[in-house]
């Protein structure tokens, strides 16, 4: 499974998703769906003064979607809404096959490790689910 998408980091986030729980004092909530497989996810954010203080998700999905969501939540917690949007743009670009600069890679941190999924078109939607749901939540709430 050398260059497989199932890296140690991904397997670990999937097995122990620290951010997979029902966030009680969320300000925003949004459902995402991956129609090709029926996987669903509910993303909840606690946003205060333009800063994402907490991010958590529930739902069901494959290891790729679960790990991607968990990594995303880690990444955006403590970031401004604006920065979260930028990171989401970087991530979705990467998954669609855009080259990352070294700076981008640094900014995406662990999320950059999912880059190999861009070469597995069938799994791209799994990796995107959380991030698209993030874009949805921000759009919906005029953030």
């Amino acid at each position: 499974m050398g260059n497989s998408i199932y890296s140690a980091a991904l397997m670990d986030h999937n097995a122990h998703p620290d951010n997979k729980y029902d966030l009680q004092d969320a300000t925003y909530s949004h459902d995402g769906i991956n129609p090709s497989c029926g996987d669903e996810m509910t993303l909840k954010l606690k946003v205060n003064d333009g800063v994402i203080e907490k991010a958590a998700f529930t739902g069901h999905g494959c290891a790729v979607s679960q790990a991607s969501a968990d990594i995303m939540a880690d990444l955006i917690e403590g970031e401004t809404v604006e920065e979260a949007r930028r990171l989401s743009g970087l991530f979705l670009g990467m998954i669609q096959g855009k080259e990352l600069s070294d700076q981008d890679r640094e900014d995406l941190d662990e999320a950059a490790e999912l880059e190999s999924i861009s070469r597995m078109p069938a799994r791209v939607k799994c990796a995107e689910l959380a991030w698209r749901t993030l874009d949805g939540i921000l759009d919906e709430n005029g953030e």
């Binding site: 497989s4 199932y6 497989c37 029926g38 494959c62 290891a63 597995m120």
Partner: protein
């Protein structure tokens, strides 16, 4: 030694050589024939031969090529009719796929018989293509969509049929073979009960035609649909058979060239069945190649195909049952499976299973299999499906089992 002994010996595979993709990829365990089958060289040869020797627009021309193209279509209709036991080749309508065929019935026939309060009765195990069109026509006509459910052996019992089909029922529609559970539904009894109540029976044959002998005269249904690409023919061609009186009474669906009798600025009259339902240039090459696919299947013989597939299902289910982390979906009895064998790997999402199997050269399907209502009813979101055809062998199943063991150890190892 029975005449079929060699075909049921799964260590021997005389079939793969007929299928270029399989022959060129000996390491591949292709276990997704229920989605689309592979094509034997004779089918690809036929498709090419059409374009190289008789290519012209059928029905339109007065020159030899065009006549040959027209005859290619007529001969395909005749062969397809014989193959499914249809009394008349004129009632074989060329479509794009099963989905379009079923939409034709839903758009053109259903509104003739459905009034507000009437019922359309289908099974919970329908593919979306034999489900969403009925939802839509029920919405348009004010009819109600009623479901039949299988028992714990995945059987829709006569009792269940009689509980759901009644005086309000105008249309009953069901898959002859389920693409998820692999079971054969007793569409003959459904048709009988439907007819007791003057309702019409629509059979989705997409998954039955590739695996069992189909005789629509015996089923006594009113419409029957299937796809060329699932029975080793090309993509882009599907078939609707309908009872002649019904096809005759139905208004056309798609309109345009070839399906008219005469057109004036403000009106038109229609060609007879089947042309009435075939707007525009038909895929004559596809019909010709589908004809060749049926010839190929017949050359193997249904006895051999059914015997080998039964053996494959038996071996596959035995092997999967021996894996403690596999939960089988559908009937436990291998003899009840025609092609499809669905399952899940405990704690591992089907997408991950399929991806990891793919890395091991095993092609299966994972997801909702276009049967979301069935999966929801069974309480699962998605599952894995391995589907077999006669060209599979022991090695394919063994690779599947080996791959599944890897999946399990990756997610639960050490």
């Amino acid at each position: 030694m029975s005449p079929n002994a060699h075909v049921t010996d799964l260590t021997v595979n005389p079939y793969k050589a007929d299928f270029p993709l399989l022959a060129n990829n000996p390491e591949l365990a292709f276990l997704d024939s229920a989605a689309t089958a592979q094509r034997p060289a004779v089918v690809l040869d036929a498709q090419r031969r059409f374009y190289e020797t008789m290519n012209a627009n059928p029905l339109r021309g007065l020159y030899k090529l065009s006549v040959e193209a027209t005859e290619a279509i007529q001969q395909a209709r005749q062969h397809i009719a014989r193959f499914i036991g249809a009394p008349n080749a004129k009632d074989i309508v060329l479509c794009r796929n099963t989905s379009e065929a079923l939409n034709l019935v839903a758009f053109s026939f259903a509104p003739m018989v459905l009034r507000p309060g009437d019922e359309v009765c289908i099974t919970i195990m329908e593919h979306h293509s034999n489900l969403v069109p009925w939802q839509q026509v029920c919405k348009r006509t004010g009819a109600k969509l009623v479901y039949m459910y299988p028992d714990k052996n995945s059987v829709i019992t006569e009792e269940e049929m009689r509980a759901k089909i009644g005086p309000k029922t105008k249309i009953v529609a069901a898959a002859q073979v389920s693409n998820v559970l692999g079971v054969e539904n007793d569409v003959k009894t459904m048709a009988k009960i439907a007819h007791e109540f003057d309702a019409y029976m629509v059979v989705d044959g997409a998954q039955s035609v590739p695996h069992i002998t189909v005789d629509i005269a015996d089923i006594d249904c009113d419409f029957f649909a299937f796809s060329g690409h699932k029975i080793f023919g090309p993509m882009g061609i599907g078939i609707l058979w309908g009872r002649h009186e019904l096809l005759d009474a139905m208004p056309p669906f798609l309109t345009g060239g070839e399906m008219i009798e005469s057109v004036t600025q403000q009106g038109a009259t229609w060609a007879p069945v089947p042309e009435k339902f075939e707007a525009g240039t038909q895929d004559a090459a596809g019909a010709y190649a589908l004809n060749a696919a049926i010839t190929y299947v017949e050359s193997l013989g249904w006895g051999a195909i059914e015997a080998r597939e039964a053996e494959l299902a038996k071996y596959c289910i035995e092997q999967l049952s021996a894996l403690p982390f596999i939960r089988l979906i559908g009937p436990a009895d291998p003899a009840a499976h025609h092609g499809a064998i669905s399952f899940n790997v405990c704690t591992v999402h089907p997408h991950d299973v399929a991806s990891i199997l793919d890395m091991n050269d095993v092609a299966i399907r994972a997801g909702h299999h276009c049967a979301q209502p069935l999966l929801a009813w069974m309480g699962i979101e998605s599952c894995c499906r391995a589907s077999v055809a006669f060209y599979n062998d022991k090695q394919d199943i063994d690779k599947l089992v080996e791959g599944l063991k890897k999946v399990w150890s990756m997610f639960n190892g050490e």
